[in-house]
């Protein structure tokens, strides 16, 4: 009985089609998967609305904690069930409550990635390789490939105003400040996708 309604505890065999349109007993639309070996772990107590006729796996609280860190555990009869978020109480109805997650989902999600990690992973798409204190505006950065400026000093100043040596626009897309690359003593020898880079320190660093 791998699938179990988190609302009323009704269980369904693996591959069952009954649950595809919601629990036929209570209308609940959240289920947790229980491997065959875990079939004796407790379903949450039915909220009193219905009790399934196939209640062979009535809750057995003593064993529940060992199986799962956050099993959905109904606390009172008045509330249909408790969720890890604890903020939604409309679960007895057939309305999906997509803004919350139950214990099984939360448990599954902890192995994937945290929101913090997601936010951190998104950062390298911005200007990251260098402390580019002054990212170029698109006008100057994009259009100057073809417009040769014979005045080297003006060109140098223009480029220096844009960014430091290498700007990661997005993964696989770079803009390079050639003059800065030429001028700087240290030598960038390896870029990393996360915006870090490896440099070779110049000799005679202490002399300067």
């Amino acid at each position: 009985m791998p699938h179990q309604c988190t609302n009323c505890g009704q269980t369904f065999a693996d591959g069952s089609k009954e649950m595809l349109s919601g629990c036929p007993d209570c209308g609940g639309n959240k289920f947790q998967f229980r491997p065959a070996g875990a079939s004796d772990s407790p379903p949450p107590e039915a909220g009193g609305d219905t009790d399934g006729d196939a209640e062979s796996t009535r809750p057995d609280p003593g064993e529940s904690a060992a199986r799962r860190t956050e099993p959905p555990q109904p606390d009172t009869d008045s509330s249909d069930h408790a969720r890890s978020g604890g903020s939604v109480g409309s679960t007895g109805s057939s309305q999906p409550s997509s803004d919350t997650e139950d214990g099984a989902q939360a448990s599954a999600r902890t192995d994937v990635v945290s929101p913090d990690e997601l936010a951190a992973a998104a950062e390298p798409t911005g200007p990251a390789s260098e402390p580019s204190e002054d990212p170029p505006d698109d006008g100057t950065a994009q259009s100057d490939e073809e417009s040769a400026d014979p005045n080297l000093d003006a060109l140098r100043q223009k480029l220096n105003d844009q960014f430091e040596s290498i700007r990661i626009v997005s993964p696989g897309k770079y803009e390079l400040n050639l003059m800065e690359l030429y001028d700087r003593e240290e030598y960038i020898i390896s870029l990393r996708e996360d915006g870090r880079y490896v440099i070779e320190m110049p000799e005679g660093w202490d002399d300067r």
């Binding site: 100057d144 040769a148 897309k173 803009e175 390896s190 320190m201």
Partner: protein, 213 residues
């Protein structure tokens, strides 16, 4: 390890100065991507040493690390000049993996190539500052030479007082225009050639011996 490397480099540099007349000149082959730098380097190396320098490709940024071919002895008019050829990655201000997708490359490979090409440009600019005694600047005769990259690199080379030759490559193409290149850099000598076809290589070697000998 870095300390030892630096120490070794320092010693190398000092001995280079002491025996400057005996040491081969390091000639950097510079230019934008796909100008034919590696084809030229291979042509020179094959003509005088029998070996190639590196793989050539029509896909931009095939060369992503500077490659050196040492002790290339070129004989001209009874005189022998010995140079080290440094084939450098094409210099550009923008690298975008999307341009590689047109060459039947998977996205992951294209992104990797893009990153390596960017590292290569950084390396090429570093070599220009530290390690070359002269420059062969290679341009594709069929493209417009008036670009920011060309202007900037020629300007840097001039500011270092490095001897430089402009090579107008790919004259075998129908739309090649050598005059457009010589007009763009009138202060330097422009040598037309086709490194791929081997056209005008005699003049190429004469000029190399004259400028870098």
């Amino acid at each position: 390890m870095g300390l030892l490397t630096n120490l070794r480099d320092s010693i190398t540099r000092v001995t280079d100065r002491l025996f400057a007349d005996d040491e081969p000149k390091r000639i950097g082959i510079y230019g934008p991507p796909n100008a034919g730098k590696t084809t030229l380097a291979n042509r020179i190396a094959r003509d005088w040493t029998g070996d190639a320098v590196g793989p050539e490709s029509h896909i931009p940024h095939e060369t992503r690390r500077a490659r050196r071919k040492e002790n290339v002895q070129i004989e001209r008019n009874g005189k022998t000049v010995t140079i080290d050829i440094v084939d450098t990655p094409g210099v550009t201000t923008k690298v975008d993996y999307k341009e590689f997708l047109d060459h039947d490359m998977e996205k992951d490979d294209a992104v990797k190539r893009s990153r390596e090409a960017t590292e290569g440009v950084a390396e090429a600019m570093h070599w220009l500052r530290e390690d070359v005694d002269g420059v062969i600047y290679v341009l594709d005769s069929s493209t417009d030479p008036f670009t920011q990259v060309n202007t900037m690199l020629i300007g840097i080379i001039e500011s270092q007082d490095l001897p430089v030759l402009i090579f107008a490559n790919k004259v075998d193409l129908d739309d090649a225009d050598v005059k457009r290149i010589s007009d763009a850099f009138p202060q330097h000598e422009t040598v037309p050639l086709s490194a791929l076809e081997g056209d005008n290589m005699d003049e190429v070697y004469e000029k190399i011996a004259e400028y870098f000998g």
